[in-house]
């Protein structure tokens, strides 16, 4: 049956008497225009020496002067190339296949390059590439104006590469002669060529130790695999094969084991022939993965061990499970057989062993132990040993590459102490904490300026190639290794010459063109050795936590924090909390009540929260606290990646450093204490903004059983068409129309379909939209005032099963029950952009016809016509229009990428940079559809279905967003538009949108 749930975005909305919610519903612009401030002050007006006549005189004169001055236009120069490179045509974009491998994110990507400068990252779909928000945003990090521009020594003076070579050459030789160890500390680069160069370096300098360090470690899983299979690697998981997924604290839609699982996962989540996967999730923080699960169970971190042990005991040992939810999960696993998988994010070797043993026991086809995942290789024990050796003076030199241990190490003070005893060199693109603590900070190019090879999975290689001339005086780590080992070769030549030895399935040029190649893996099946599972089981089963527990996590925005100076990522709302520019302690409602923590909305809709002091293992930090529905009672969450100071613009220095609490590289810390302190914190939280609450039929969802019930007519059951009264008859809203329909059957008619089932809320589309459409970053203060500029937002709705029209309950009981449900609500993510209504309410109210309709279906916004009355935004039922309150470009008040010459290089030259006082909104990427059409015209052929894309649909790795021409009856979008699951937002108001949504189907029945 049609779901009759109540949806809410913020707990505040559950309070019937909240005036703020009402204000936000009624008013598009929350803040009043402050005219009274300066006109109402009669006294100062009277005291003013400027009379009205004088004022008018000045106005008249300055208008005349400005008019005269504007008659003289500026002289613009046009400077052509001296010698134009053959493959560059000014005005035409080139695409290059390359690879990101920054130690945290790994992906095969395409880079859009205009006149020699990369402006956009797209997934290389031919090479199975998918991009998350950070990968999408990484192009802006290339143009970070605070990058390390040239090498420098400890006193901050710059040093030339020739001097670096001689000085370091001497020093390293001395250390070699003294017999002391040289440590190379790198992140996971998964590069076979870098690895062999490090080995070569080791041969030349003798006592060299390569330590791999992941800032957010997966060491436990690596240890477990090593114990079982002898090599240090991770198994791969193909969630598209899974019918049952049971996750115990594994945020695999986030960054668990390197991420990149969402496309496989989403394939199983769309009901196909009546089937979809079933996902049970045990976790403490509300994560993206938990939010997408069918069954989400709130479990404190320490109890996750018990759950996992229970699962193991039930499946492997055949015992009966104790926990009710585990019993259900076991039933699901048994039903799916080899199509089930159990994954865990518990940072404990034994727990990881148990999960692997369960998968082996059921013969899971989802887990593949022979094709290994190389994107996390860090070794905690090695890192701990290195820090100890450095302190004790055993290490002569430490060479750090692309890693920021001074910031990310939990015991960074020890590390800094150790640096004093050693010669320290850091290769870095960023002028970060480590670069400022070492003897030599060597500037390396960004990955878009570099060469490289990456082996993300065993036998599957990717090529990294530069897409721009190096912006600064930089040199790659690998080039330095070659130089220091006395080779004259360049790294590019080295890659090329070593390519032959890999046994690739294509030529080097072809591999470079495609961005990837495969090579036969040397060994196929790995054999499991005997591991004492009973010991592992008893260790996990007996694990206990005490007191409050802290669960550290990474956000989809900042991740491990290496891109913290990227304004796109800072402004990307967290998919769960919808908060930007911050990290905070997430606490459950029950704990908040106990500790006296409060969150409240102030008059303009901004969210404020109490400050708390968090103490763990002797470290205490004062943090804001955010009450998070779905947070397990007794647990708290805190995100990594914030609190960086070095090489950061002032605006970006947000949040607090959570690595201080990351003791022993364990993401869960028990026995923490939290105390309310005085003061309050202002969040920039968008969850109450642009709300459509109270307007009905926004989110539609049903259950798999209902969906599969053939006796039901979707239109009258789970996907009801709204009814309106017309001539005293109840008729379907779609049949009634105020306007005449325009015939759109000739030419193209664009539609965008969004599947609520496969949308995981990852936010890649939001950043892609920023990059494609020159969307301005407005900063924390403006976001707080509801002046965010996101053309595309992902609304997150919580829902409870308590019905609004539940007649059995009294009003007070009903709300009490709703409050209760908000402790562990179900979650829906819904991307909302301009719906491009065929009968758009915004168009009819524009006094200057600045927003009009195209025959291809787009609602077009003409910035140069707009005079900024904002009527359109007031009249938009979907709240998708954004007003430029200020000039965001060339404005020191908004010191983001549009305010510096380097950052402006990322702007898309085909899209206008909007000025102050105009309205803007999603254009359905008309510049992209126009370009596809023009390309087809030039080639004299019809446009192929897959050629029509928008930035968001292109960035979507789960296939939730599909864009195309519905006049092409063969197209995917045509099928989706006529699918039984499709519906329009707020259909009853008759706007006839060109964006369709697909009803969310939950696999909730057991």
């Amino acid at each position: 049956m049609a779901s009759n749930k109540k949806y809410w975005q913020s707990v505040e909305e559950l309070d019937e008497n909240s005036s703020i919610v009402d204000t936000l519903r009624q008013n598009e612009f929350v803040e009043e225009i402050p005219t009274d401030d300066f006109l109402g002050d009669k006294k100062s007006l009277e005291e003013s020496s400027t009379t009205r006549r004088d004022f008018l005189k000045y106005v008249g004169f300055s208008t005349a002067a400005a008019t005269l001055a504007s008659c003289e236009g500026p002289v613009k120069k046009a400077i052509p190339y001296i010698v134009k490179p053959n493959n560059i045509i000014p005005g035409v974009a080139d695409y290059y296949a390359t690879t990101i491998a920054d130690g945290f994110d790994f992906a095969n990507i395409l880079v859009k390059v205009r006149e020699g400068r990369p402006i956009k990252i797209e997934p290389n779909k031919d090479a199975n590439g998918s991009t998350n928000a950070r990968v999408q945003a990484s192009v802006l990090s290339l143009y970070d104006s605070l990058r390390l521009k040239n090498s420098k020594t400890k006193d901050g003076s710059s040093i030339s590469w020739a001097d670096v070579d001689t000085q370091l050459g001497e020093k390293l030789t001395d250390i070699k002669d003294s017999g002391k160890a040289i440590a190379i500390l790198t992140n996971t680069n998964a590069s076979p060529t870098t690895a062999s160069l490090i080995a070569q370096f080791g041969e030349s300098f003798g006592n060299v130790k390569h330590v791999i360090y992941d800032s957010v470690s997966e060491s436990a899983a690596l240890d477990a695999y090593e114990a079982m299979f002898g090599t240090r690697a991770l198994p791969t998981y193909d969630f598209s094969k899974a019918n049952t997924i049971v996750s115990v604290g594994a945020d695999f839609l986030g960054d668990w084991q390197g991420g990149n699982f969402e496309s496989g996962y989403a394939k199983g989540r769309v009901p196909d022939h009546g089937k979809m996967s079933h996902h049970t999730h045990f976790e403490s923080n509300m994560t993206l993965t938990g939010a997408n699960a069918d069954v989400r169970v709130m479990v404190k971190p320490s109890q996750q061990n018990t759950i996992l042990a229970d699962l193991y005991n039930a499946i492997v040992n055949g015992a009966s499970a104790k926990d009710a939810n585990v019993i259900k999960a076991v039933k699901q696993i048994k039903k799916a057989g080899s199509n089930a998988v159990v994954v865990t994010g518990i940072q404990d070797k034994n727990a990881q062993l148990l999960a692997m043993a369960i998968n082996s026991a059921i013969g899971s086809e989802v887990m593949n132990t022979s094709v290994t995942n190389n994107t996390r290789q860090g070794n905690d024990a090695d890192v701990t040993q290195l820090v100890a050796d450095m302190k004790s003076g055993k290490v002569g030199a430490v060479i750090i590459n692309n890693s920021n241990p001074v910031y990310t190490l939990p015991n960074s003070a020890d590390f800094v102490e150790g640096l004093k005893n050693t010669l320290s060199v850091s290769f870095s693109t960023a002028d970060n904490e480590t670069a400022n603590a070492v003897d030599y900070a060597l500037a390396t190019p960004h990955y878009l300026e570099s060469w490289g090879t990456v082996e993300m999975k065993k036998g599957q290689f990717s090529v990294m190639q530069p897409t721009i001339q190096p912006l600064f005086d930089t040199r790659q780590f690998e080039d330095c290794l070659l130089k220091w080992t006395g080779s004259e070769e360049k790294y590019y030549d080295y890659i090329k010459s070593s390519f032959a030895g890999l046994g690739a399935d294509k030529s080097f040029s072809q591999a470079l063109h495609d961005g990837n190649f495969a090579a036969a893996a040397s060994d196929s099946e790995v054999t499991a050795s005997d591991v004492d599972m009973s010991a592992a089981y008893s260790s996990v089963a007996s694990a206990k936590g005490n007191g409050l527990e802290l669960q550290l996590y990474t956000k989809i925005g900042l991740g491990d924090g290496q891109q913290a100076n990227n304004p796109w990522l800072q402004e990307l709302p967290d998919p769960i909390t919808r908060t930007t520019w911050d990290n905070y302690l997430t606490v459950s409602q029950a704990d908040a009540a106990e500790l006296g923590i409060e969150n409240w909305n102030v008059a303009n809709g901004g969210l404020n929260g109490s400050l708390v002091e968090l103490t763990a293992n002797g470290v205490n930090v004062t943090l804001p606290a955010l009450i998070q529905p779905g947070q397990a009672v007794g647990s708290m969450g805190l995100a990594f990646g914030y609190g960086r100071k070095s090489g950061m613009k002032e605006e970006m220095q947000t949040g607090k450093n959570a690595y201080h609490f990351y003791k022993n590289f364990k993401t869960t810390q028990s026995g923490v204490s939290v105390e309310l302190v005085s003061g309050e914190h202002e969040f920039a939280c968008t969850q109450l903004q642009n709300t459509m609450m109270g307007r009905g039929d926004i989110v539609k969802e049903t259950t798999l059983a209902t969906f599969n019930d053939d006796s039901l007519d979707p239109k009258h059951s789970w996907n009801p068409v709204p009814m309106v009264s017309y001539k005293h008859q109840e008729v379907e809203a779609t049949t009634v129309d105020l306007w005449d329909e325009f015939d759109r059957s000739v030419g193209h008619h664009f539609n965008l379909s969004i599947d609520l089932n496969s949308c995981t809320g990852c936010g890649a589309c939001v950043v892609a939209c920023h990059a494609e459409n020159n969307v301005a970053v407005v900063g924390k203060e403006e976001i707080r005032k509801s002046r965010d500029m996101h053309w595309l937002r992902i609304d997150r709705y919580y829902s409870s099963d308590t019905k609004k029209d539940d007649k059995e309950l009294g009003l007070i009981d009903k709300f009490a029950k709703m409050e209760d449900a908000s402790a562990n609500p179900q979650v829906v993510f819904q991307p909302i952009m301009c719906q491009h209504c065929n009968h758009a309410p915004c168009e009819t109210v524009c006094p200057v016809a600045a927003t009009t309709h195209g025959r291809q279906g787009q609602n077009q916004m003409t910035y140069n016509r707009c005079v900024g009355t904002r009527y359109c935004a007031n009249n938009c039922p979907y709240k998708v229009r954004r007003f430029n309150w200020f000039d965001y470009a060339n404005n020191a008040e908004f010191d983001f990428n549009m305010n510096d010459d380097l950052g402006k290089m990322v702007l898309n030259p085909d899209v206008t940079v909007r000025t102050r006082g105009v309205m803007e909104k999603c254009s359905m990427c008309i510049q992209m559809t126009q370009a596809s059409i023009l390309k087809a015209k030039k080639e004299g052929r019809p446009v192929k279905d897959e050629e029509f894309q928008t930035a968001c649909s292109n960035a979507c790795s789960t296939g939730a967003m599909v864009f195309g021409d519905i006049n092409d009856k063969e197209s995917e979008i045509y099928k989706l538009k006529n699918d039984a699951r499709s519906y329009h937002l707020l259909e009853h108001i008759g706007t006839k949108p060109n964006v369709v949504y697909q009803v969310k189907v939950r696999n909730t029945e057991v």
């Binding site: 120069k77 046009a78 190339y81």
Partner: protein
């Protein structure tokens, strides 16, 4: 109403030289005519020789200067006629039998083409042309400096005149009134008295006053609107460029295709200003202009220096051994951009040039006649739209339009559609 000329008053750009096209054209026509008469007096053989020389030899040889090949002026004094004929017809074969020829071939690593198609007479003609000639005094000398008739803009004068007339009338009336008050006005009702009567009647008629005011306001608004809509319209903008490049010489006289240099126009939104290496395709061998070349008042002496500016930019040393060499020192050319669309307007050359097959001249005017380029079209939205309204889309050739064409024909029975009817007038097609 307000056209080009008017505009130049308002848009007096700092770096813009005021050019008067008509005077310029008159001058150059006279100069050309003059030169043409002089040429008539040249010898018949040498004339044919010159023609042959220019079409066959000039790529590598000049009369007075070494190029890829040696200077050929006075070559007949150095070599025998028969030797030259043998060399020109097939120098490679000649080298095998003649030691002198072998030596001559060592001049340059680039082998000279064979010209078996030349008759002996042809070669004699060419050689006649290469003979040193008596210096001909061209009519150049001091250039005629008579002032060409300059078309004045008289609108202001007319307005001032009208005001003067009204003032005079008023003065006359005042004078009369004073006289009448003094009592020494003439008693008889003269013509002026009658006119005065009309004037008095007019003065009393409030309705007429009202009409006058309305009329005056409407006129003011009309002219003010016209004037204001010219702000930012730079039609006729003709800035001085860093190199005195003549489109007339290149596209007009030498008939070089526009897209040979502006090769991006068919691929890209931008037509592309040719990179300097494209210029060097020809100018590697053409280091000076023809003797009779003129751009405005500038003759060969100045224009050769302009080509030198190109060489400075690309770092080409024409004097270097072997007919010139690149020095590696480059200096980008900073052209002044003439056609400036605002940032919010999207225009794509390839759509118009490649898909629609429009001639460049449609928007850029008779470029092949312009020595110094100016903005021919107003580039206003009105101008864009009126063309989109009139231009029909040719749907027969292009595979993209095939389906749309069929649909239109079937649905509406329409055979021809204009760009505007295809959606070429929607705001979002050019503003995004």
């Amino acid at each position: 109403m307000y056209q080009t000329r008017k505009k130049q008053l308002f848009i007096s750009m700092k770096s813009v030289k005021q050019h008067n096209l008509i005077s310029r054209l008159t001058l150059s026509t006279i100069a050309l005519l003059f030169l043409f008469t002089l040429n008539l007096s040249a010898q018949g053989d040498a004339k044919n020789g010159k023609k042959l020389f220019n079409s066959n030899c000039a790529a590598c040889h000049k009369l007075d200067k070494d190029l890829v090949g040696p200077a050929l002026g006075g070559i007949t004094e150095k070599r025998e006629n028969a030797w030259l004929k043998a060399w020109i017809k097939d120098n490679a074969a000649f080298q095998k039998v003649d030691a002198d020829a072998k030596e001559a071939a060592a001049y340059s690593p680039t082998a000279m083409n064979a010209f078996p198609q030349f008759s002996d007479q042809d070669i004699d003609d060419i050689l006649e042309y290469t003979k040193p000639q008596e210096p001909v005094i061209t009519a150049g000398g001091p250039v005629q400096t008579f002032a060409a008739p300059v078309k004045q803009d008289n609108t202001l004068l007319y307005i001032l005149g009208a005001i003067m007339v009204v003032m005079l009338l008023m003065l006359f009336n005042l004078y009369r009134t004073i006289n009448e008050l003094k009592g020494d006005a003439p008693k008889s009702r003269s013509f002026s008295e009658q006119a005065n009567g009309v004037w008095e009647a007019f003065k009393r008629n409030k309705f007429l006053h009202f009409l006058m005011v309305i009329f005056f306001l409407l006129m003011t608004a009309y002219f003010a609107f016209g004037w204001m809509s010219q702000v930012g319209v730079d039609q006729g903008y003709q800035p001085i460029q860093p190199i005195e490049f003549s489109h007339k010489i290149h596209a007009g006289d030498n008939k070089i295709d526009c897209q040979y240099c502006h090769s991006a126009a068919k691929h890209s939104k931008s037509s592309g200003i040719p990179s300097a290496n494209v210029c060097m395709n020809c100018h590697m061998n053409i280091s000076e202009v023809a003797d009779d070349t003129k751009i405005g008042n500038h003759g060969k002496d100045i224009l050769d220096k302009e080509i030198q500016k190109l060489y400075d930019a690309v770092g080409w040393d024409p004097e270097a051994a072997g007919g010139g060499a690149y020095t590696g020192e480059t200096k980008p050319i900073e052209w002044v951009r003439i056609h400036n669309l605002p940032d919010f307007a999207y225009f794509n050359h390839s759509q118009h040039v490649n898909v629609a097959g429009q001639k460049c001249q449609k928007c850029h005017g008779p470029v092949e006649e312009m020595d110094e380029l100016y903005q021919y079209a107003p580039l206003t939205m009105d101008w864009c739209i009126s063309c989109h309204r009139e231009t029909e889309v040719d749907m027969t050739e292009n595979g993209y339009y095939k389906k749309i064409h069929e649909q239109l024909a079937k649905k509406y029975g329409v055979e021809k559609v204009t760009v505007a009817e295809m959606g070429g007038m929607e705001c979002g097609k050019c503003h995004y």
